[in-house]
Each structure stands twice: as C-alpha cells, then as structure tokens.
Amino acid sequence: MDEKKILIKALKLEAQHKPNERIYVGFKSFTYKEFACMLENNSRLDKETKKVVDNFLKQALKMFRENHEFRNKMMTLAGESR
C-alpha cells in the first residue's frame, strides 16, 4: 500500500473512534469523521476546502517520511507494520 493510502486508512480509523472531535482551520471547521471522508475523496470539494485537505495530507506525508515514531504508529494502525 502506498504512503498516502496508509495515512488515509490510519486517519479514518482514528476518526471512527472520535467522530465528533473537530478540526479548526481558520474560519473552517470539520468533524474528524467529515475530514476523514474528505481525505479519501476530495474531488467534489470547493477550491478552498480542497486546499485545506491537500495541505493537511502534504503535512501528514512529510511527518510520515521524517518522523519514525509517527510513521510506525500510522503503519501499525493501518495494519501495515512488519
């Protein structure tokens, strides 16, 4: 599974446990459940929301590649640990 898919799977699983926790990005706010769905499928989002989602994924990927602790946790959660 590629890195992005691992991340999205792991974050969706986290969102399942805490569906009503919220993310605030400037004026915009989403529940974890809403945001996790947008991570998987952002094709129908408006331009601004798509930018928020893309930036979040970009940051998450950066952490996945540079932070071993975060990477291992994501891999374990997504069931990809070796």
Binding site: A10, L11, E14, A15, K18, E21, R22, I23, Y24, V25, G26, F27, Y32, F35, V52, N55, F56, Q59, A60, K62, M63, N67, E69, F70, K73, M74, L77
Partner: protein, 247 residues
C-alpha cells in the same frame, strides 16, 4: 511583571478603538488573538483593525499575533515599515478540540518566553522545539490529526526580527543582498524601477559620450560631467527625502 496592560478584548473591537489605543502608546507591545487574513487583522466579521493602510501603526513596535495568515503580507509590510518584531503565521492557524490544552500552550509560549526576557530568535526556536515535543506527545497518545496540525502550525510560524520575510521575487532578493534585510524590504516597486531606469539611462549616456567624444576624460572636464554629477546628486537627494533607503 511590571507591565501596564491596555486590554480592549472581550467583544468586537473597532478600528478606531485600536488606533486610539496604539497612537498614544508608541512603544507598547501589540498582542492580537483573533482572525486574520494575509493583509489584515480582523476585529469583527466586517471590520479590519490593522491593514496595509494603517500598518505604519506597527512601526517601532513589537507585535505578537495568533491569527491566520497575517504574517504573509501584513507582517512583511510591517517589517518593511520598521516594525521591530512581527510574530505571526503565514498560513491558517489550526487546532483540534481534543488537544485544546496543547494548542493553547503552543499559541501562548512565544509571549511567555519573551516576558522571560529572551530574544525573539530564542523565543522562535523554543516555540518550534515545544511544537515538536507536543506533536510527539500527541502521537504517543494516538492523537494523529492533532499531531499533524501541531507540526503544521510550527512550520508556518514566523518572527520577522529573528529572520526577515521570505520572498520569491528575484529583484527583492537582489535588494536584500545589496542593502540588507531591513532596507531591502523597504524598497518599493516604484523605487526599484526608478533605480533601474536611472542606472540604465546614466550608463547609456556615459557610454555614448565615450564613443562620440575624442577625449572624454580631458582636464578641464567636459560640462557633460558636471551635468551628470548634478543629476546624480539630485537623484540621491530625491531618494533620501522619500526615505526609500533610510530607515
């Protein structure tokens, strides 16, 4: 701490209130927690408190903001106008409800470090280190959304004093290289265009003079050189008066 505090928080604030609070207190540290855009700080849904029109109110002042985006344009302009330090964010400030305490700790740490008499460079360094520690803690606790948001906030946090604003403009980069960060940021498009045109025009005139005149460097000098000297002096005086290079 021995500081006098002017607190106009607690509800929507008008531009006039902020201007009237800042003007008689030229050296006061300005702390702002609310919404921001790349070129302004908002007092309410409809009113901008500080924008590119009154940004000079931030000159010779230290500014601490927890607001989205304002460091991108407003902060850069404030720096160019002589703001001593602008602490802010170049993108949206993000947080989550499950880690409110950690995001509060990060948002407030800069000003706390500053009140401990640390330099702005040290405050920025410590704030980013704290963000890393908090992101690790959130990761260990299984709060991955929050960890990502914390890292994001740290990445987009800047302090223009600890370092100058970044730019992609090659002319701006050249100006910073030639004149240093403060003066390089003060130079406007109008100034740089006038410098370029003046330089090229002078170069063309001197070049043609050397081609056309059989003895361009004779003693006594041609009146051409007196004319060029007067033009050069006039240009320097005009730019000194417009404070284009003098802080």
């Amino acid at each position: 701490m021995g500081c006098k505090v002017f607190d106009i928080s607690g509800g929507p604030v008008t531009r006039k209130e902020v201007e009237e609070a800042l003007k008689p207190n030229p050296n006061a540290l300005f702390i702002f927690y609310n919404h921001g855009s790349s070129d302004c700080l908002w007092g309410s849904v409809t009113e901008k408190l500080i924008d590119l029109q009154n940004v000079k109110l931030l000159s010779n002042r230290e500014v601490y903001t927890v607001a989205c985006l304002s460091a991108k344009k407003l902060g850069s302009k404030a720096y160019a106008e002589g703001c001593i330090a602008y602490w802010g964010y170049t993108a949206e400030f993000t947080f989550s409800t499950e880690a409110i305490k950690e995001f509060q700790q990060f948002a407030n740490c800069g000003i706390k470090f500053k009140l401990e008499r640390k330099s702005w460079s040290e405050c920025l360094k410590l704030a980013k280190e704290l963000a890393k520690q908090l992101a690790s803690k959130l990761t260990r606790e299984g709060k991955y959304f929050s960890a990502v948001l914390m890292e994001h906030d740290s990445e987009v946090l800047v302090c223009y004093n600890a370092h100058p604003p970044e730019t992609k403009c090659p002319l701006r980069k050249l100006a910073i290289k030639l004149f240093g960060p403060r003066r390089g940021w003060k130079i406007s498009v109008k100034n740089s265009l006038s410098f370029l045109l003046f330089g090229f025009g002078l170069g063309i005139a001197i070049h043609d003079f050397f081609i056309e005149c059989p003895s361009p460097l004779r003693i006594p000098p041609h009146s051409f050189w007196y004319g060029i000297t007067l033009i050069l002096v006039a240009f320097i005086i005009a730019n000194l008066n417009s404070h284009s290079l003098v802080s």
